[in-house]
């Protein structure tokens, strides 16, 4: 009976998240469109509201092309690795008090593990396609993940030190004692580092080098088509949501808001996640793209020292209070 309930919960979560993914793509296109003084999708449904559904159906029924020289098992597995790890990381996210599938003590570590595992999918995709552009995209992705996992982890160490826990629910609870009951202000450097690393982790502009369209055609995605392409796509957007959720949980006080919303506890949580997603899209509409070596430089020369400084300052703060 309990298993059934958990399965139902999983199903509900997946359905909600996947629907969100679909409509994130829609809002991305709409928002970027309007920022660029055009309209975005307009034809399918009222103001293009059914466009993501149409896209989903289309990619589901498209021919799944596998390059002749590709490493077939890996080529087929790569998008699944990406998607599954991203979906798995949803399990530990607390949407509200008690609204969490697996309330484990190493929640944050689990999230890190899953997000770095997802990049293996990208690397394998780049390698298995047996194409030069995908290979370069895969290599870039590898370098990017290695350099940005570290500042990302380090930036959250401050949060762990303040809250004294890796459990996401407890991190949210611990923030109640902070200014405005969020960790944003005491951890402002940490948040800055986390935010940049988050953009890089999710391969978003200005760090979208692995799929830099004007350089590598489509990077690691070049040879993919149909459903497998859509899986990568979904993984990327779920990744954005997971990262936004981590940011919300660790720095913005999770589901806590200025006041409680009855009947729908995760209201504030979802609102904050939407805020992050809007920021993602907004940045994409504004900024150019870094070069590969500049990206490395930023990661190693700026973000890691900043993150270490943040840990040091947090330590001092802990000692003197």
């Amino acid at each position: 009976m309990q298993i059934l309930i958990i399965l139902l919960q999983i199903a509900a979560l997946l359905a909600i998240v996947l629907l969100h993914v679909a409509y994130t793509t829609y809002f991305e296109r709409k928002i970027i469109g309007h920022m660029q003084v055009r309209m975005g999708p307009m034809l399918v449904g009222w103001h293009g509201l059914l466009q993501p559904i149409a896209d989903g159906i289309k990619s589901f029924f498209k021919e799944d092309i596998i390059p002749e020289q590709a490493d077939k098992p890996l080529f087929l597995a790569a998008p699944i690795i990406c998607l599954v790890t991203m979906l798995a990381s949803l399990a530990v996210l607390p949407f509200a008090r008690g609204w969490v599938l697996a309330d484990i003590n190493i929640g944050l570590l689990f999230l890190f593990a899953m997000s770095s595992l997802a990049s293996y999918g990208i690397i394998l995709a780049g390698w298995a396609s047996n194409s030069k552009y995908t290979f370069l995209g895969g290599m870039r992705s590898m370098a990017q993940v290695i350099s940005y996992e570290i500042p990302m982890g380090l930036s959250l160490v401050g949060v762990m030190m303040l809250s004294g826990s890796l459990n996401l629910t407890e991190i949210v609870t611990a923030q109640g004692t902070s200014i405005f009951s969020i960790y944003l202000f005491p951890q402002i450097i940490g948040f800055f580092v986390f935010f940049i690393a988050m953009l890089a982790e999710t391969n978003r502009v200005p760090f979208d080098l692995p799929e830099a369209e004007t350089e590598l055609v489509s990077g690691y995605l070049t040879e993919y088509s149909g459903m497998r392409y859509a899986m990568f796509f979904m993984a990327e957007y779920i990744g954005m949501m997971v990262m936004a959720s981590i940011g919300t949980v660790c720095f913005l006080g999770g589901w806590n808001g200025p006041f409680e919303i009855p009947f729908f506890p995760p209201f504030w949580f979802i609102l904050k996640v939407y805020g992050f997603l809007f920021l993602f899209i907004w940045i994409r509409a504004t900024l150019p793209r870094y070069r590969y070596d500049q990206l490395m430089e930023l990661g190693w020369k700026l973000l890691i020292p900043l993150a270490l400084l943040n840990i040091f300052l947090t330590g001092l703060f802990k000692v003197f209070t």
């Binding site: 055009r38 370069l136 080098l209 830099a212 004007t214 350089e215 055609v217 150019p288 070069r291």
Partner: protein, 405 residues
């Protein structure tokens, strides 16, 4: 020459670590059908070999079999971003060869369309250059203004891209009040639009990182590579044909030539942005100084019809046929050769003509700036990264229709 490398990434010895990549001809950033054969060491380019010719249509051969007036349509298809400027360049060259006078109004109209074409071309350059570097919003903002210009072109001559606007001895259509009102609105709004693009990229740290110090070209190196246009002026060489050999009405118009100093991608970018402001200023002068009069020179022979007109000309049929008489009177097609260059948005567009007393050119050679700029890519592309190569292709401002002819 190969010291243009901006990043000193150690290059592995031997060839076993090299990675060969054929970029193009179908690639989002090669502006048409350019193929660049790269040899990569990691992401650093060790050898760069541009391959052109995918769009070769044999214009020079075609021109030998068509009359001077008919060849005008070929020039539309050279640099299709700024067909007007090519039309003007072609007509200026043929008029010099055949010694045809142009009316003053037509000269001003030519300057006007030339500068509009320059704006249109520079806007497209900015759009694609920014898109190549990843700033995709600038792309659409620039196209917004370009669309206005295209519509003015459509109203003026009936076509948006392949204008065929000039004719030997003048232009084919006069402006109307409506067109000038629209142009006036445009030039009043345009400086604010340039501000908009600059807000997005001009001081943006990512943009600066991607452009400053990338592919620096010194003045000597620019001349050695035969670069022209803004690509050369970015290095500080004061070479603008509009000033050096004024054609059309440029001698009656006041403008300045923006010169860069460092000759890197950013300097070239700044030069072109300033050129847009200058073009705007020239357009304003065109509106203010547009002289009255006919759009075709008074003694310009009607060369549109390729065959010699009927000999019997009675005096009272029409005044226009008096012009036909002129062709018989005077030897229009004198023997000789001529090289006339004009400043098109991409650089120096030169036409070399040989006339052998026939209605068709014996030889027409087009000195296209894009062809030479892509040739320079071979030198500039060595030792930079793949992402920089994209920026260099963007900053040289090439169009393959003109390159391959």
């Amino acid at each position: 020459m190969t010291e243009s490398a901006t990043i000193n990434v150690p290059v592995a010895q031997g060839n076993e670590d090299k990675y060969k990549l054929k970029m193009g001809p179908q690639h989002p950033a090669t502006h048409g059908v350019l193929r660049v054969d790269l040899e990569l060491d990691g992401e650093t380019i060790t050898d760069c070999d541009p391959k052109v010719g995918y769009l070769h249509r044999g214009f020079e051969k075609l021109a030998e079999h068509r009359t001077y007036a008919q060849n005008l349509v070929l020039t539309d298809r050279l640099d299709y971003m700024a067909a007007m400027a090519n039309n003007v360049g072609y007509c200026e060259a043929v008029e010099k060869l055949l010694d045809i006078q142009v009316s003053n109004r037509a000269r001003f109209l030519r300057v006007m369309v030339c500068e509009m074409a320059r704006l249109a071309s520079h806007l497209l350059w900015l759009a694609t250059h920014a898109l190549d570097i990843g700033a995709m919003t600038v792309f659409l903002y620039a196209f917004r203004e370009r669309e206005t210009l295209m519509e003015i072109f459509a109203e003026l001559c009936g076509s948006r891209l392949t204008n065929t606007y000039t004719c030997l001895g003048g232009v084919r259509q006069d402006v109307t009040h409506e067109i000038m009102r629209k142009l006036d609105n445009f030039i009043n709004e345009f400086p604010a639009c340039i501000e908009e693009y600059e807000t997005l990229i001009d001081t943006n740290r990512i943009w600066l990182k991607r452009t400053i110090g990338v592919a620096p070209v010194s003045a000597e190196m620019g001349l050695d590579l035969c670069l022209t246009g803004a690509s050369l002026r970015g290095s500080g060489v004061d070479y603008d044909i509009r000033k050096h050999v004024p054609y059309a009405a440029y001698d009656q118009i006041d403008f300045e030539v923006p010169l860069g100093e460092t000759g890197d991608t950013y300097a070239r970018y700044r030069c072109r942005m300033e050129e847009m402001r200058q073009s705007n200023y020239i357009l304003r002068q065109c509106i203010e100084k547009m002289p009255p009069g006919a759009i075709v020179g008074e003694d310009a022979p009607d060369l549109v019809m390729p065959t010699t007109p009927r000999k019997k000309v009675t005096a009272d049929t029409s005044a226009r046929q008096g012009l036909i008489k002129l062709i018989e009177d005077r030897d229009v097609y004198m023997e000789g050769d001529i090289y006339v260059a004009t400043e098109v948005p991409k650089g120096e567009l030169g036409f070399y003509f040989i006339s052998d007393c026939k209605g068709k050119p014996y030889r027409m050679h087009i000195r296209s700036p894009s062809f030479i700029h892509i040739g320079a890519l071979e030198t500039l592309g060595k030792g930079v990264m793949v992402a920089d190569l994209i920026a260099i292709i963007g900053t040289l401002d090439v169009v393959l229709g003109e390159c391959d002819r």
